[in-house]
Structures are given as C-alpha cells and as structure tokens.
Symmetry: C2
Subunit: 418 residues, 2 copies
C-alpha cells in the first residue's frame, strides 16, 4: 500500500514548485466543494480547504501526478492510486471518498460545471458491477475461485446481501438475501425456475434445497459453472439443479419463475428490450420474475478507469432505462425495492475481509493488484453510501396475470432464516 513508484515523497522541491502545487491542490479541493479531505504534497506541505476536520489524508507523490489529474482525471486518479502515487496515509478512505462523492452530486447539490469536471477525478469509482457479461468474465472471473474465496462469504455470493436484522453477519445476510428473493417470488415446491447469470450457483442451490424448486441456471463462466456443479453434487441436488454453460440469449423453454441477480449490469441498455422478450417468452401465464441489479438515480456513462480495469462493458441503469425491459414486452412491474445501504454494508464487509487477506492476495498477485482492488472495494462502498449507486430489486409478472398477492406482508411474515 505504501509503495511510491514514480518519485519518492521525500524528493526535494523548490519553493516555487511547492507554491504551484499548493495552488493546484487548493483549486482541486475547492472545485470539489471543499470536502473534508487533506492532501499531503510531495513537498511535505498539507492542503485542505474544508472547515471541518479532514476524514482522510491522501498523499500525492509528485507534481506530475497532480498535473495528470488535471488533464484526464477520469483515468488518472485510478491509475495513480493503483501505482501508489496517490495513497491514503491517514484516516478512512471510504468516508473520504464518500464525502468527495457527496460534494459532486448532480442536480441541486452540484457546484457548477467546473466542479462536475473535477468531481470525476475522485468519483471514478461511482460505478461498478458485480457479475456476468462475456468481457467482464475474462477481466474478473479469470482471477480464480481461490481469490474470491479469500474475502467472499461461504455462499460465494458476489452481489448485495440483505441485512434483515441489524446484527446479521455477511454470511447470514447473503442467505437472507436469497430468502428475500424467494419470498418475493413466492417460490413453491415443484416450481420450475430459470436463472440468468448464476455466479457460483448459491441462489440456484438455495432455491432447490430450501424451497424444492427445479432450477436451470445459466452462466458463461466455465470456472463458475464447474464450481457450481461440484457444489450441486456435494449437496445432493444434481437432480434438481442444472447448471448450463450458456448465454442468457440462448434460454429456451418455459418456467414459472425467472430470476437474475447481478447480471443486468453487464447486459447493456441496448439489449434490454431483447432480454425482456426472452423473459416474457419463457414465463408461463401465472409466472413471476425478479431482476436484482446495481442501478443509479439517473442515466450516466461508465467511468473509464472502472470500465478499463474492473468491469468492461458494464452499466448501472436507472429505473427509466430498466423500463425498456418491461414496457415493450407486456411485463407488469409489481414491486421495486432499493437496497442501496445494504450494498454499502456488503462492500464494507468485503473490504474488511480483503484487508485481512492482504498478505495472501499479495502472494497470489502483487502489491499493485492489492491497491487496485482496495480502491475498487472502497470506492464501491463510498458510492453506495453517498447515493451515487443504487441497488434495485424489481419484481414483475406477465401483464394479464392476476396471480398477485394482495399485500407484501408475506415477505416479512417469516423471521430470518436459521
């Protein structure tokens, strides 16, 4: 974490360059809305423009880093953090990022176009996604099951958990999430389910093992499918769950239930209408569907650093964008729930576990990789805390179906699972 590759923090600087750096740094912070952040410059000077005490101190390794930030902030903030040219030397990185994100809010909270441009410098982590898509698979899942096992909970769920009670552990909350989804879908023994983008298979196995459903689960990651098939064998659920190594676009046949948890982020808005057509075709007349996805309050393009290094091709859609799935395809939205703060807590658990496993991760990869993933996980938590990212669960049914529960009370009737 503390490595500085370009130039040491102890490099001598002239008074003139120090003054220049200070002015640049002040301009950056002012444009960001004066967040409670302190910058420690290569000269040893510290700069803050906030009235309140700083939540975090970020060391900027050299003048070139500050200049690069001004030229191409979207890409350079992430690059510099990964290189170690920007480091968190004091305080809480997540709270500092959250404060910076809050300062860069669009709409009534924003600070003009200058602020918006600069905001991108630290807001590069506002977007991220957590499963699916062919390119993403390569960038993300080829890292290997052993890596994810180090910091995910035992269900290997790599999506937002649901902390049904305040005291739940991450593992309990991931199981509670699966139950929350199954209750919304009113899953019954014998129900036939199609799952699109099944990750390591946790939800499919839960639906089969706890609810007696028959599940066909699709995924284009060979490594995840292998893992899921092994799990099915170990759990004695091979007869009830079929893990299919294929794209959602090749889903055939019909089902009572369609579920997709953490795949939509990789589908691409242009493919939403087609996804809806596939779902509508698959759903029987009394069927139910649920899509769980990272989203946003308004459409925005993906940050370039995030797209390049973390999730190629990903998009966190707004509800208006998501309506392209449902509206052209006679699908009726019954229930939308926003679980944003549950994702903040989930990402916080992952970040803690990741830091605990830092030595193992460093051995598997290197320090640079650790810094990149720290930035990604901290930024994810900050983005959900600040409201830059949302988590939508959308329940729907064919437009003509009257097989609709009178109230949503049934979702809350049962206590947290054992």
């Amino acid at each position: 974490m503390q490595l500085v590759q370009d130039s040491p923090a102890s490099a001598p600087s002239t008074r003139r360059s120090a003054g220049f750096g200070r002015r640049l740094a002040e301009r950056l912070l002012t444009a960001l809305g004066n967040p409670p952040v302190r910058l420690l410059l290569w000269s040893g000077e510290t700069v803050t423009t906030a009235r309140e005490p700083p939540l975090v101190t970020l060391r900027i390794a050299n003048r070139a880093t500050l200049l690069r930030l001004m030229i191409d902030p979207d890409m350079q903030f992430g690059e510099a953090f990964t290189d170690g040219r920007i480091e968190c030397v004091e305080g809480d990185l997540v709270r500092g990022l959250e404060a910076a994100f809050r300062g860069s809010a669009p709409g009534p909270d924003a600070h003009g176009p200058g602020a918006k441009r600069w905001a991108r410098a630290v807001a590069l982590l506002r977007r991220n996604t957590l499963s699916g898509s062919r390119r993403n698979i390569h960038a993300h899942y080829d890292l290997g099951n052993d890596f994810y096992r180090l910091w995910l909970d035992p269900t290997m769920a790599y999506t937002c958990a649901y902390f049904a009670t305040e005291s739940m552990t991450l593992h309990e909350a991931q199981i509670a999430k699966m139950d929350h989804v199954c209750r919304k879908l009113r899953l019954r023994p014998g129900d036939e389910v199609i799952e699109a983008g099944c990750g390591w298979g946790g939800l499919a196995l839960h639906m089969a093992g706890r609810y007696g459903a028959k599940v066909r689960a699709f995924n284009i990651s060979a490594e995840q499918i292998d893992y899921a098939r092994d799990s099915a064998t170990r759990a004695g659920l091979k007869g009830q769950v079929e893990f299919i190594h294929d794209d959602y676009r090749n889903i055939a046949g019909s089902a009572d239930v369609f579920a997709s948890v953490g795949m939509l982020e990789h589908v691409g808005v242009g493919n939403y209408e087609n996804l809806g057509r596939i779902v509508r075709r698959a759903l029987r007349p009394g069927g139910r569907g649920l899509i769980h996805t990272i989203g946003r309050d308004a459409p925005e393009p993906l940050n370039r650093w995030m797209e390049r290094y973390i999730f190629p091709g990903a998009c966190a859609p707004s509800l208006g964008q998501m309506s392209r799935i449902f509206e052209p395809n006679s699908l009726s939205v019954l229930d939308v729930e926003n679980l944003r703060l549950h994702y903040a807590r989930t990402a916080g658990c992952w970040l803690n576990a990741f830091e605990q496993a830092r030595e193992s991760v460093t051995k598997m990869f290197d320090e640079r990789f650790v810094r990149m993933w720290r930035m990604y996980l901290a930024g994810t938590q900050a983005a959900f805390l600040s409201g830059d990212l949302q988590l939508f669960q959308v329940l729907f049914a064919p437009s003509r179906s009257n097989d609709i529960p009178r109230t949503r009370e049934h979702i809350y009737r049962v206590g947290a699972p054992a």
Copy 2:
C-alpha cells in the same frame, strides 16, 4: 338503463339486413379474439363466436349503431352505451368488459393490427383517472359533493383503497390506505407535510389527527377546499391543517414530507420534470415523498370518449414516463408498489354503491347520466382486473439522504387501524 333513444329494439328488419347485421357482429367478435360476449341484435338474433358460455349479453339497438362502431369505435362505443343504444341485458358487464380487454392485450397476447383496431371499440374504458387537473375539475367536481357522497365512503376518498385484510369494508380500506401511505413516509409528530391535490381533505386530516403532522394541502377545486376546511373545523384540526386553494405549481416553502395521492393523472407527462423540480426544492435534506397514481405497463394515449366525457387531459403514465419526475431532479426511488387489484375492488365497491343510489342519481341528473357513469365505473373495474390499468405508489427521497429505513418491515408491523 333500458332506454333506447335512436330506434326501438322491436323495429322490423328485412332478412337481408338481419343477415348483414349478423355478419358484421360476427366480424366484430372475431376481431376481438372471440370473448365470451353475446350480442343481441335489433332483429332479435343473438350472435356469439366464443366457445365458452357468454358472461354478458349486449343489446345493439339498430344497424346504425353497429355501423358507427365500425367507423369510429373509440368514440362510438361510449356514445352508444350512454344513449342506451348499447345495453347490458344479461350477465355481468364488468366481467364481459374484462374479457374483451384481455382479448385486446398489446404484445404477445394480441391478435394482430385488425384486432387492435377493433379492440378499441370496447377498450375505450381502459383509461381513466380519479382526481385533479383544472379542466377535470370542471368536468368532474362541479357535479357536487352531494353526488359523490352518495357512493363514496365517509372519508370521501376518490382514489384506490388498500384492503390490508381480506374482510375490510371500503371505508376501512380507505383508512388503511391512508395509514399505508403514512407508514411508508414514516410520518412522525411535528413533521411538516405538503400535499398536492388533496381532494376532499381526508388524507391531510388523517395525517394531522392520527400522526400529529402539520399539513399544507393544495387543491384547485373551490368546492372541495370548502368541504375540507369545514371538516378541519369540525375535527378541531384547524391549527394543524391549512387547505390552500391553489395549483401545485405555486407550492412554496419547505417540508419534511411531500405527498400526492391521485393528482399525477392530471399533471401531463410534459410537466413531470417541472413537478419533480418543485418537489425537490420543497423537500428538506432528510425528507420523504410519495406519489400515488393510476398507471399503465406501457405508454398509451388516452381514449377519446373517456377524455371527452369523463377526464379531460388525463394520462395514466408508465413507470418509464414517471421516471421523468425523479431522474432529472436528484430524487431517489426507494420503493414502488403496484396495487392494481385493490383498485379493481375499490371500483367494484363504488359501482355497487352507485347502483344502490341509482334513483337518487337519476333525480339529480337523468338516466343518460346514470348510464354514462355506470359505463365509467364498470369499465374502470374491468380495466384494473384485466391489467389494462395499474396503480403505483412510488416512495422517494433526495438522492443524498441516508435517512432510509433498513427494511420495509415497519410498514407491516402495525395491524390494520381500528
């Protein structure tokens, strides 16, 4: 109900015109997807193309009525029903309309463009709205409080009720709806509320009387405002509720809570972004908002008969259309609930009460008015039963607010109000 104004049903007809009428009637029913409807022609012939027994028998008074239906179905079906040239002589009008609406579903259930065109003939009632808008006020609320008192429940709520338990009466369900809204908004004593489009003031008085809120409620109907002020005085709530005779566009000041139940239908999609701006400006940082509106699964223009005679200028928006309120204005959607079948039951209660009060209504107006309102209320119930109309409650908050409950369990924790 049984009056036929243009030409008596007993008018003699030649064999030739009877055969022509039969062929026309068959073509109509076939194009509609062969719903379980029987047509009784002026010649005394009955026509049905359905395999199952008919749910309803509609008498067509004369050949001219059938021909007009073919030329301008959108307008002529409603005109003919209002005139008594189309009558329900047997069976259940609501179930018959529902079946016809189901046959005319857009998307995968549809029967081609010919069917769609014909579908409009009976689907004219698919759209309707239940409050607000300046023109609507004149068309609708100038009918007088005495008229609405005949068939609304004592709260005078003219919006979808919430049947929290199966056995609730309409009156209980209207109070349960108000509690449902207040619980979603986590209304607390001392909260300042702005209500846009307050009808006869039932929700505002409930918020003040049961929850200790301070409410400023806006409405452009002078007659409703007078009624609401009288109610406030009788309830001893004048100090807590201010009824303001003004348009939502003139809302000033700030509040903890924004609520609008049954007004959006009359705002017009083109004004949604401006409505959202007004709401965003009014809401304090930790504020909460709720919009309750009739909606649709996909955008569609208003039926001409309905717009001309029942609700001028109204629109039942899709969720995609509603996103124009929230997305440009830094408002975060927290919860969407679709209560469509609650509206079907509400409209059924109104229709029953309306039929009970038929003699009084006839004395107030005339037979023609009774037929028009029967058509409107029956069509409303059928549209919600068939899925042609939806009822959305959308809960939202400023994007940066983290004053969000962890779960929605609190909405269901409390039993139905006494």
